[in-house]
Amino acid sequence: MNKSASITTGGTFRFGLLLLAMPLLLWLFLLVILPHVDLFLVSMRERISYGKYEFSLINYIEFFAEPLYWNTYVRTAVMSIFATALTLIIGFPVSYYIAKVMRGKGKNVLFLMCLIPFWVSELVRTFGWMILLRESGVISNFLQWAGLADGPVEMLYNDAAIMVGLVYTSMLFMVVPLVSVLDSLDDSLIEAGYDLGGNTFTVTRDIVIPHAMPGIASGCIVVFMLTLGNYLTPNLLGGKDSLWFTEQIYTQFITRFNWESGSAFGFLLLILSSVIVWVGLKLSKQTLSETVG
C-alpha cells in the first residue's frame, strides 16, 4: 500500500530512516532533553569555591525557607488560575456568538478580527495598556473629563492591571479552541433542548458546556501555561511589586548570577506547570497530542 512504508527491506531503509530522524534527534536531545537534565543537575549542587561544586539540596531548602520565594510561587500560581478562569468566562460568550449566532461571511470576519491583534507583538499590546492605564493616560483623562474623577487616577502598577493585561494576552488561545469545538455542535441539539422545555440556562448547562468540554480544557491548559511563564506583562503592568515567579528566576540568573538557585526555581516552575497541565488533561480525559496538536 504505502510506498515509503513498503521499502522496509535491506540496509537502505534503516540508513535512510536514521538520516531522516537525525535532525529530530539532534534537536530534541541537544536543545530540549539534555539542557533540562543539566538544569536539574545544576539545581542540585552548591558552589563551594570558584569552579568547585558539591551535591546539595540547599537551593531547594532556601526556596522553602525564604517566605518571599514561595509566596511569589503560590501567588503566581493562584493569579494564573484566576486569569485562566477570567479568560474563559469572558471568552466563552464571544466564542459562542462567533460559532453559533453569526452566520456566513460575518462569522469569518469576526473570527479574523479576534485573531489579528494577536499577531502583533505582546510588547506592543502591553504598551497599549500602559498608555491607557497610566496616570496621564487615556482612561484617567476620560474620567476627569467626564467628571467622574477629581484628579489623575493611576491604574497601572497593581494586580488588577496585571490581570487585565494577562487576560488580554491570553484571549486568542481560549477563543480559537472554543470556536472550533462549538462550531461542531449541531444546532438541532440546541433546538431539541428548547423543544423539550429547557431554557437558555439549562440548555447551556446540559448541552453546550458538556459538548465544549474538550475545547474548554485545551484552552484553559494553554492559557494557564502561558500566563504562568509570562514575564513581560506582570513586569510592565505590575511594576516593582508585581512579584511574578519568572522575575525571581531572572533575578537569580542575570542580576545575582546565582545559577544554582535560579535553576532550582526554574525547575520548580516547570514542575508546577507540568503538574497542572497533567491534572487538567486527566480531569478532562484529553491527551497532550489532542490538546496542542
Partner: protein, 285 residues
Amino acid sequence: MIPSIPQPKFYKGLYSTYIALFFVYLSAPLIVVGVFAFNDSLFPSMPWEGGTLAWFFGNEDPYIGIFNDTKLLESVGVSAFVAFWVTVLSVTVGTCNAFLFERSKFPGKNLLYIVSLSPLVIPGVILGISILVFSNAIANGIEEAIGWDLEFLRPGLFLVIIGQFAFVTTITTLVISARLRKFDVSLEEAALNLGATRRAALWTITIPFLKPALIGAGIVAFLMSFENFNTTLMLVGSDAPLTIAMFDRLKQGSTPVLNALSLLLMVVSGGLALLSVFVQRDSKN
C-alpha cells in the same frame, strides 16, 4: 441561544452589546498605540498636543523619528537576522520531522512525538535558562579540555537563534505534518510507476503539494521569532533584538518613537497574518 430559537429582544441586544464591548476591549490598546504615534508631545500620553510626523521622520533632538533612530533600526536588523535563520532552520527540520512522523514506522515513534510536542508546554523562560546553562557547561568543558574558548556558546545571537528554534520547530512540524497527512500517496506512486526517480517524485509532486504549508509555517516561524521575548531575554548578549531593545526603552520611559515603530510593526505583522490566512485557505480548496 441560536437564530432559529426566538429570544426576547432585550437579551439579544444585551448579547450584542457585550460582543461590541469585547471588540472595543480587543482593539483599544492597539488603537491608542497607533494614534499616539502622531502626538506632538515628548511622552506617549495625554494630553493631545496636535498631530506630527516627527516620530517617523524627525531628525532633531529630542524629536528623533524611527527612521533616524539608529539604535532601534539596528535592533530591527538584528531581529530580522535572527528570524531569518530561525525560519530557515525550523522549516527545514519541521519538514524532515513531518516526513518522519507521517511516512515511516519505527519503534518508539509515539514517545518521540510526545517529546517533540513538549517545547510547547515548557515556559519560554525555562527553555531559555536550560539552554543557557547547558551551552555554558559545554563551553566550559571544552575550554578546560582543550583550551578553546568557544565564544558562540556564550550568551549572544547564536544562542538566541538556537533557543527560538527549539520551540518554533514544534510548530512548523505540526503545520507541515497536518498538510502531509492529507497527501494522497498514490500520486507519488503514480509518478514512480511512470518512471520518476524517488527524488524527482518528491520534488515535482510532494513538495509542490506541501508548498502552502511550507509558506504558512515559514511566516508563523518568522513572526514567532521576531516577537519572541521570554526565551530571548535569557539568552541575549550585547546585540539586542527588537523586543529586548523596546522593553528597555519602555522601562526607562520613551518618546512616542516607540509608538511609530509599533504602528509599523502592526501594519507589517497584520499584513503577514492575513497573507498566511489566505495561503492556508487556498490550500484547502
